[in-house]
């Protein structure tokens, strides 16, 4: 005991410590050292803030048609007072859309929808994928075969094409588009979970739980699955980026969110033929999609590097 105390005080005096550091502390420390991850987190924070406060930030109601209320015309160019737009004209930071609504307000409300789309599809895909992957990995045999071959078939189609086909079957609409994107992203998660399950299934702590009388449910969800958490979190963060991009593409094609919903993809799709005359109506929604996807990509990449023990010596 005395020896240990001596050792601790000696190490402390040399600037070293025996204090235990949790995985999350290490991860956070490593994550905050990466500039790109911080940029991603910054944009993401801003988006969440906009999504939460859209009704106070937005100068207009996103559905409000301004005909007769203000002196504006369809697809009017942006009017920003600071940049020399006459003070007597109403300010519209991103101009007026094809239905005489304030583009800026619609864009702000779009953040809410975009984040919702990302999180809900990925949650659906993670839950379903985890259950399928865990069952396949744990039970093996024909269960595994059926599940994984089905996943192979799903992976054999380009994701967007399959999503388009599924939406057509279910009928166009935001919820169905989300479901379609969720379905096509299941295989990625199922594979990640299955691989993790396979790698720890035969380990001693699992056998110990079994010997202690733990049932399948306990072994699977309490002992094995926590080991799959790290790759799942990384995959999920990057998956949100893909989901938002695909959902925007479906809405752009008219299969996802329907007008007048302020969804970036459908806002862009509705004005795509006006790109030569009113480029601002195409430019801003696209930029918003790109920034959102970029923030999740940067953050996800940072997470992957921070959680990867092989990189510990590089940045930890």
């Amino acid at each position: 005991m005395n020896n240990k105390q001596n050792l601790v005080s000696k190490l402390d005096s040399e600037g070293l410590s025996l204090k235990s550091v949790s995985l999350w502390q290490i991860t956070r420390r490593r994550l905050f050292r990466r500039k790109s991850a911080l940029v991603g987190l910054g944009i993401l924070g801003l988006l969440v803030f906009i999504a939460l406060t859209a009704q106070w930030l937005a100068p207009y109601d996103p559905y409000d048609v301004l005909i007769g209320k203000e002196d504006v015309v369809r697809r009017q160019k942006p009017c920003i007072h600071l940049l020399g737009c006459p003070q007597d004209q109403p300010q519209h930071l991103m101009g007026i859309d094809g239905n005489v609504r304030d583009e800026f307000s619609r864009l702000l409300f779009g953040a809410r929808l975009s984040l919702m789309i990302g999180f809900s599809t990925v949650t659906f895909a993670i839950v379903t994928g985890t259950v399928l992957g865990a069952l396949g990995g744990y039970f093996g045999g024909w269960v595994d075969n059926i599940i994984m071959r089905t996943m192979d078939v799903l992976l054999a189609f380009p994701a967007l094409l399959l999503a388009i086909a599924i939406v057509t079957v279910l009928g166009p609409g935001l919820i169905n588009a989300l479901l379609a994107i969720g379905i096509v992203s299941i295989p990625a998660y199922a594979r990640v979970v299955r691989a993790s399950v396979l790698s720890v299934r035969e380990m001693d702590f699992v056998s110990a739980t079994r010997a202690l009388g733990g049932n399948t449910f306990q072994i699977l969800f309490r002992r094995i699955l926590p080991n799959a958490l790290t790759p799942l979190i990384v995959q999920g963060t990057l998956g949100i980026a893909t989901a938002i991009l695909d959902a925007a593409a479906l809405s752009f094609l008219g299969l996802g969110a329907q007008p007048p919903t302020p969804e970036w993809g459908s806002m862009l799709g509705a004005e795509r033929n006006q790109v030569f005359t009113s480029p601002h109506l195409v430019f801003y929604p696209g930029l918003a999609i790109m920034l959102t996807v970029l923030s999740f990509n940067l953050f996800g990449d940072g997470l992957r590097d921070a959680l990867d023990p092989r990189l510990a010596h590089v940045s930890g």
Partner: protein, 359 residues
């Protein structure tokens, strides 16, 4: 090796069967009445009954599936209700555009992506590296349809009247005379059958056909029309390839044998290109292979924006019009292409890295 190829090919049979089942099911599950989707809302019940009987749509579903499988195995993809012609003919007409588009996008992404990745790995943490990575991260986050529209805006409108002007839509400038190469060469081939389809397919590859017939005006037109769509389509794979080749190179460059090579006095160029690059190729091949699949998905969007009638656009139109024949055939062709591609990617591992034993 041969054993491995055979085993992998056999292993993909269940997947292929699954693909056929899924496409068949999806096409049948598309809601709505195929008869009225094809013949119009005002078609009478009698006309519709006859239509359904003629197309075999009144038979039990498993019989329809059986017929479908046996037809496909004979290379017969059935008829397109809407266009009233065999789907195979439509495929021969539309696939070349998509092939040209995807391949030029892939070539652009490889010839720009790989050097960028290598340079940023060699000059790790320099401004070149930082710029490349910012650009690569932005590239993978870019919606294809937005980039396409913005490119069209810049190159077709802002740069109008300059030498950089590029056409915003279509495959070629209308009115340029062009004849298929087999006619120009005076080849006498029967206007049907497999051989004709192959010739027709090649002649529909505009760039190839204009090269074969020495039609330079046509070549110029078909290339300029392809630049914007392939640029838009290439962004995501280009960014992925740049990122992959950078991280692969970084990993390899830190290894002992590279230090040995440098110690031997080899030039930096030889070390990077001969010693390091080959070993960083492996993950790159996977990314390139997988990119081709995403290119096909992206083709739906790119073809829609740039008014190209390729496979993606036709498939999208067919889905909305409930044209079962096209939906089934095109999806199956794309999916099979994807499976074969994965097989090739797996096999190329052994060739690229002799340390990998496939058996």
């Amino acid at each position: 090796m041969i054993q491995y190829i055979l085993r992998r090919t056999f292993a993909s049979i269940p997947v292929l069967f699954g693909i056929l089942l899924v496409t068949f099911a999806l096409a049948r599950l598309i809601p709505g009445d195929p008869c009225r989707a094809i013949l119009g809302e005002k078609a009478t019940q009698e006309v519709c009954d006859r239509f359904i009987r003629e197309k075999g749509l009144d038979r039990p579903i498993h019989i329809q599936f059986g017929i479908y499988i046996s037809e496909i195995s004979r290379g017969d993809f059935g008829q397109s209700f809407r266009y009233g012609m065999p789907v195979t003919r439509l495929l021969v007409e539309r696939l070349p555009t998509t092939v040209e588009l995807s391949f030029s996008a892939l070539i652009i992404s490889i010839i720009i992506g790989i050097p960028l990745g290598i340079i940023s790995a060699v000059k790790h943490n320099s401004w070149v590296d930082v710029t490349t990575m910012i650009w690569a991260n932005t590239g993978v986050s870019m919606p294809v349809f937005w980039l396409g529209l913005m490119l069209a805006y810049v190159f077709s409108l802002l740069l109008k009247d300059t030498p950089f002007w590029l056409p915003p839509s279509g495959r070629i400038t209308p009115g340029i005379p062009s004849i298929p190469f087999y006619e120009a060469w005076g080849l006498a081939i029967p206007e049907a059958g497999f051989q004709f389809s192959v010739y027709k397919f090649i002649s529909n590859l505009y760039i190839v056909n204009s090269l074969l017939t020495a039609n330079w005006k046509m070549l110029g037109s078909s290339i300029t029309h392809l630049i914007l769509p392939s640029l838009a389509l290439s962004t995501i794979p280009m960014a992925l390839i740049a990122r992959m080749s950078r991280s692969g190179m970084l990993e390899v460059l830190g290894q002992d044998y590279i230090r040995t090579a440098r110690a031997k006095g080899l030039s930096n160029r030889t070390v990077v290109l001969k010693h390091a690059f080959r070993n960083s190729l492996l993950p790159l091949v996977t990314v390139i292979g997988l990119s081709l699949g995403s290119l096909l998905g992206g083709a739906v969007l790119t073809e829609t924006i740039f008014g190209l009638s390729g496979v993606g656009r036709t498939l999208y139109d067919a889905i909305t019009a409930r044209d079962y024949g096209i939906v089934q055939a095109f999806t199956v062709v794309i999916a099979i292409f994807f499976v074969v591609l994965n097989l090739i990617v797996d096999m190329s591992y052994a060739y690229l890295d002799p340390r990998i034993h496939l058996d």
